[in-house]
Symmetry: none
Subunit: 151 residues, 2 copies
DNA sequence: GAAAATTGTGGGTGAAAGTGGGGAATGTTT
DNA sequence: AAACATTCCCCACTTTCACCCACAATTTTC
């Protein structure tokens, strides 16, 4: 299974094209058909799921109860913001304006690997986000992870 | 299971290449595919996990709920500072500039074995760190270790 | 103790990665 | 129908990196 990690700063040109870092590209499985699904990320960023990983989420979404108000709202938000984009010959994706606007991205973008997807952040926004909890990182870590290897 | 120990001083060339000490290399299992995962260490150093050891952490990370705010923050913090590097024909890894900068490494590096991973330190920084507890080493040891062999 | 193998260090080079732009084809607006 | 924007398919340039070779120093082998 793919596992995305790492952080790179890349440029966004006037056409909204964003290069996918080589190391992350190598983690892309053939089943993804060189296609990503863009969607709104949690927090102020754009999430890009390889097509094969996205399919797993589709299965989960299909299970939700459409008669539940909250589920309906969640589904509409996610799906209205989901769109497939394909890599061009230079291994770039075109990120439509509305996604860039949502994340406040312009000119430069930070690309972060996040396990089963990658995230696009406005550089300063990402720094602020990381710094927000910086002091309490160890605290959060110990809460989230208890003894990683079951030792 | 691999168990890294020892301390060696090596050089970092202009391309950021760092040789892995032969003794530690021999502790590297074939499953690691000659690959390390670099991360920010605890304290001011760079940690390098053999790929097979790192995979155990990945499994834990993948279990976390990305819809939980705290977990998300933890994952982004960890993963933004994680990157795979492969040994070249001369058994060296390339350590990206940002990791060298984080640890203040330039020209020379101290490589320390640390059980399941190795650590890269700026030489003076490591001396200072050891010195910090030097006087009370026996005291700290007695606190950390109670009856090592289960006696 | 000499020969051979391994280890640690440095550098050059061609391929790949990252970046940018022109101009058809398409579609939407005035 | 003209004007404009958007998308797609080329091409081109610069920088970076993966891969190769080289060699001194150290360790191992016979």
């Amino acid at each position: 299974m793919a596992f995305y990690k790492g952080q790179e700063t890349y440029s966004v040109d006037s056409k909204g094209r964003v290069n996918i870092p080589a190391k992350m590209r190598r983690a892309l499985s053939p089943e993804a058909l060189n296609t990503f699904v863009l969607t709104r990320g949690s927090d102020r960023c754009v999430a890009a799921y390889p097509l094969d990983e996205w399919r797993r989420y589709e299965l989960e979404y299909a299970k939700l109860n459409q008669y539940d108000e909250q589920s309906r709202f969640f589904l509409r938000t996610v799906l209205a913001w989901s769109e497939e984009v394909e890599l061009d010959a230079q291994q770039r994706i075109i990120v439509p304006r509305k996604y860039l606007d949502f994340a406040g991205i312009d000119g430069k973008v930070v690309i972060v690997g996040m396990i089963d997807h990658i995230e696009l952040w406005q550089p300063e926004e990402f720094d602020v986000y990381l710094g927000k909890f910086e002091s309490s990182y160890e605290q959060v870590a110990s809460q989230v992870m208890q003894r990683p290897n079951g030792q």
